[in-house]
Assembly symmetry: C2
Amino acid sequence: AIVATLEETLSGKAPSSGALPLDVTPKHDDCAPAPDAFMAASNEADTGALAGRHVVITAGPTREAIDPVRYLSNHSSGKMGFALAEAARTLGARVTLIAGPVSLPTPEGITRVDVISAMDMLAAVNAALSTCDIFIGCAAVADYRLLDVAEHKLKKVPGTTSLTLNLTENPDIIATVTASEHAPFTIGFAAETRELARHAHDKLVRKRLDLIVANDVAAPGLGFGADDNAAVLYHLAASGPDDPVMSHTLSPRPKQDLARAILDYMLP
Amino acid sequence: AIVATLEETLSGKAPSSGALPLDVTPKHDDCAPAPDAFMAASNEADTGALAGRHVVITAGPTREAIDPVRYLSNHSSGKMGFALAEAARTLGARVTLIAGPVSLPTPEGITRVDVISAMDMLAAVNAALSTCDIFIGCAAVADYRLLDVAEHKLKKVPGTTSLTLNLTENPDIIATVTASEHAPFTIGFAAETRELARHAHDKLVRKRLDLIVANDVAAPGLGFGADDNAAVLYHLAASGPDDPVMSHTLSPRPKQDLARAILDYMLP
C-alpha cells in the first residue's frame, strides 16, 4: 500500500503528491452494528481497514433488450467485481454488490442487488449512493441501448436481408457518481484492446475518478471470463486534471488476489 | 406415440395421413459399434427405438460479435436442446450436440461441439450432416449478424449520443439441412411471443420441416431459461404444403419429460 493522507476527509480530498486520499473515517456514523453472521464471515470486520465503511460495487455486464428474446451484451463475467466485493468484505466493509446478469454465487455477508440493463443499474446505484463511502464501478455497462425496444419478437421481413438497429447513449453511471454532491472515493475500470494507458488516463480525468484499474482484455488467458487478471492502476499525483499520472503495475494473478492488491494499494 | 409408417425410408418419405414418417432403419449402415461407455449410459442403446441412428441436435443461442467485447445474443439457455440430446441418447441414438455458448454440462455418452456464432454453427452442422438421420434444430440461431465486426473495442465518439448497427442476414441453418440432397428427418422449433400457431405453420411449410415444436416464450415460468416447458407439435397430415396441419399439445412439464414426449410422438 502507498502512504495515504489519513487526515483528509472523503468529501474534501486533496491528496499530497503520489498519495491516494482514502480517509478511513466512515462517511456516515449511523452505520448499523454488524449482525453476527456478518461478523462471523470475517475476522477483520472489526479491525480491518474498511471496518464500518459502505463499499458499493457494480459487477458483470448489462443486457440491453432488443425485443423479448434478443439483447445486446458483452463478455464481462462479473468475476472481478465479485472478487472485489469479497475482498472489501474481508477488510471489514459493509458491501453492496450491484450485479448484472452473471452466473456467480453471492459471497457470504454481502448484500446483492441483481439488475439487467444499464438503466436498472443506475437506479440501484442511486439508491445506494447516499451512504456510500467507496464506489467501485467494475461492471461493463453497455454504452448504448436500443432507441425502441420491440414489445414482441421481431420477425424477419421476407425479401429483406438486412436490419438496422438504432441505439441511443446510456447514462454514464460512474460519471453520475463522481458528479454527485457527496461523491464517494471512486474507482473505475478500463477494459481495452489497445492503447491502454491513453484510454485509461483519458477516462480517469474525464470521469473524475480517484483511481482507475486498466486491463488489456486482448491478452490471452486474462480479463473477461478468465480466472486470472493483470492490471495497471492509474491515479493523479495531486487533484488537478493536469497533474502527473502515477501508475502501478500488478502482474497476472488470480482475480481474488488482484482484488485484494487493488484495495491494499489505496489503503494506508 | 402416433403410428408411423415404418416402411418409408427417410430419403423417400411420403407419410400416410396423420402419420410421421420416421423410418427406424439407420441411414448409414457404417455406424461404428458403440463403445462400452456409450453402452453403459443407456440400457436402451441396443434395443431403443433410435438404436444405430445418428441424431444431430443444435442447442442454445448463438452470439454475433459487434467488437471484441460486445455481442448480440438471445435468452436461449440450451436446456431444451440438452434434454433432447439426453432423451435421444437414452433411446439408443448416437448423438452429436452442437451447442452455442451455454453453461450446461455435457450429458454422458454424447459428442458435443461448441460454437459461438451462426456461421460457426452452420459449419458444424454441415460437418455432421452426411451421416445424420434425424436433425433437431433447437438452437435459437441469430437471424442477423453484424455486417462488419470491429477488430478493436468501439469507442464512443465525443459529442454523439447515438449509434447505428448495420446487420446482415445469417444463413438459415435448418432450411440448409432440409434442402440438402439426402435431407434427414428434421424437427424445428418456433419460439414466439404471439400468434404461435400461425408462425409455426408458416415455418413448418417454408422450411420444409417434418415436425415443428412451438413454444410460447412469453408464458411465465416456461420457455427460455426455465426448467419447465410446454409445446404444441405441428406437422402436415401428408407431404404437400397444402395438406392439413395436425397438432398435438404437450402440457407444461420438466424439459427432460417434454424432450422424451417429443421423441416418443414421432416414433412408432
